[in-house]
């Protein structure tokens, strides 16, 4: 794991170290306090006992059984112990006060307050004892008899409090350890996650830069391809055109014939280039849709006009049934492109009969136009590959038709671009029908960011 090598992770590891240090400090302190808890409870218990012992000794002193020194000795032990418990100091471990243990000041406020109360009662109690020892007055003796229980109870309360305090500290101790561990683990997880995330983001940024560069290169490629291919074609089509017009001199029949073949080939090459570039553009995501309002009928008229020489040659009827009122908001050029392709296919694959173009508006704000023919039709398995590139229906070699092989594939791509659908129905030997559905009004998506056109 290279996590441990980075500079940033040293910070996280440092933080974990500090957390562990602090937790340990508190844990050790807790243990220290535990030790004193034991001693204090012990001493406090003894104070309870001593309060009763003193009372007994005063009474026995009165009866002459116990000496004044004995009483004073007990008083001294009680006194010293109470002070040590409350304010901290040396506490006598034995009643003859030969061994001492230093204990800290009572840190718990409540217990300290309780010990203050004990001290208050004790001050009075001590006075009474001293009074008895000096004057032997009966009222002091009575006081001692009446109030020694109170002293006992107050001390008892202090003991109970100390016991609770000690008990509470244990779970607190465990919680502290648990918290310390949890915190350390949490910091570790967060630090590792952050490091992983940073790495991921960096990878994404690099990938993005690469993608943008590829995109830019695509644009340059398409632009220069178009230019490079069209330049020589310009001279091929141009010069054969001029020659065939006779402008450069009269031509013999054979020369005309051969030049015509060159011209037709040039035209075919141009169609191929146009289709290829179109497909490349669409697939590169660089195709744009220029939207305008136009009547479908107008486009249909233009297409039928253009196809009429070829249709007349084969003595085919071209029938139009497009409602005049259908107005589309879409890319006119591309719609015309699709219609032209479908109609010229229909003419190409039909030897007799007619080609019908229909257009109607559907209820769901869509337009549907169809091109149907009475041509050779297609078999089911041919239909499957219909809209794929470079497929041609040429089962029999004699019927091999010319074409780019991209026509229907491009149609599908264009229809997709315009958010529409295209489908075909056919019966082998009877004819085919191609149906295109388009939205009446084209809604464009967000434009691409990379609109730079380096070619021009």
């Amino acid at each position: 794991m290279d996590f441990f090598v980075r500079k940033r992770s040293i910070f996280s590891l440092g933080t974990i170290f500090v957390v562990i240090l602090v937790t340990s400090f508190f844990a050790i302190d807790t243990l220290r306090l535990q030790k004193y808890d034991g001693i204090r409870i012990n001493l406090s218990g003894r104070e309870r006992m001593l309060s009763q012992k003193m009372t007994k000794e005063i009474l026995l002193y009165n009866l002459g059984v116990v000496s004044e020194d004995a009483v004073l000795s007990t008083v001294r032990v009680f006194d010293t112990t109470l002070i040590a418990l409350k304010d901290g100091g040396d506490a006598p471990l034995d009643l003859s006060m030969t061994e001492f243990e230093a204990i800290p000041e009572m840190e718990n406020k409540e217990i300290k307050e309780q010990l203050e109360e004990v001290m208050t009662s004790w001050s009075t109690f001590k006075q009474k004892i001293e009074s008895v020892l000096e004057n032997n007055d009966a009222s002091s003796v009575n006081y001692i008899i009446d109030n020694n229980t109170e002293l006992l109870d107050e001390m008892d309360a202090a003991v109970v409090m100390m016991q609770h305090n000690a008990e509470e500290r244990i779970p607190r101790f465990y919680w502290l350890i648990a918290l310390g561990i949890l915190l350390s683990v949490l910091i570790l997880i967060v630090a590792i996650t952050k490091a992983a995330r940073r790495k991921y983001v960096k990878q994404l940024e690099q990938a993005n830069i690469r993608l943008q560069e590829i995109d830019r290169l695509k644009s340059i490629f398409l632009a220069s391809m178009s230019h490079e291919l069209r330049t020589p074609l310009n001279s091929i089509i141009g010069f054969t055109g001029i020659l065939l017009q006779g402008i450069s001199g009269a031509l013999g029949d054979e020369q005309k014939k051969q030049l015509t073949m060159v011209k037709v080939s040039g035209q075919h090459l141009l169609d191929l280039i146009n289709d290829l570039l179109d497909v490349s553009k669409i697939e590169a995501g660089k195709a744009e849709v220029s939207v305008e309002e136009f009547a479908l009928a107008d486009v249909a008229n233009e297409v039928t006009e253009a196809i009429s020489p070829a249709a007349n040659k084969k003595e085919l009827d071209v029938v139009k049934e497009v409602q005049d009122e259908i107005v589309l908001l879409s890319d006119r050029r591309r719609v015309k492109q699709v219609l032209t392709n479908l109609v010229s296919n229909a003419v190409k694959f039909t030897d007799h009969g007619q080609v019908t173009i229909t257009g109607k508006q559907l209820e769901n704000k869509q337009v549907e136009f169809e091109v149907s023919d009475t041509g050779i039709g297609m078999k089911e398995k041919e239909m499957k590959r219909l809209f794929q590139p470079f497929q041609q229906i040429d089962e029999s070699l004699t019927k091999k038709q010319e074409g780019t092989g991209l026509g229907l594939y491009l149609c599908k791509k264009i229809v997709d671009l315009l958010h529409g659908e295209i489908r075909a129905e056919s019966e082998y030997g009877t004819g085919s029908t191609f149906t295109v559905t388009l939205p009446l009004r084209h809604r464009s998506e967000k434009r691409r960011v990379s609109e730079e056109d380096p070619g021009s």
Partner: protein
């Protein structure tokens, strides 16, 4: 006789266009770079400029902009020859100040007639 300035860096295509235009009776002046085009537009004062877009130094659009900037009175019609690589090639040409455009390869039969329209 009308004078046409043809800006085209490809020799063969230049020959083609010149041939068509001269046969139609126009006088043809040629430039093979954008900078030459700007200079000749000022010196020769042609009646029409046919401007190829891809040129060796400054491209046809830049040359068009400069010619437009230098024109004192009246605009010479400038027709662009575009390669149709992107859909907005044509829009860019018009935005730069071109009067119209042709897409290469040109149609030799109709080219001369279309040119005549710009000269009316």
């Amino acid at each position: 006789m009308k004078k046409i300035l043809v800006v085209e860096d490809n020799e063969t295509n230049l020959y083609l266009i010149r041939f068509i235009l001269e046969k139609k009776g126009y006088a043809v002046v040629a430039a093979t770079t954008g900078l030459d085009a700007v200079a000749l537009a000022v010196d020769e004062k042609p009646d029409l400029i046919i401007m190829d877009i891809q040129l060796p130094d400054i491209d046809g659009l830049e040359a068009t902009k400069r010619i437009r900037a230098s024109e004192a009175d009246g605009e010479i019609p400038i027709v662009a020859l575009t390669s149709y690589s992107m859909a907005n090639d044509e829009e860019k040409a018009l935005a730069a100040g071109c009067t119209g455009y042709f897409t290469k390869p040109i149609d030799p039969e109709t080219f001369a007639n279309s040119i005549a329209k710009y000269l009316e």
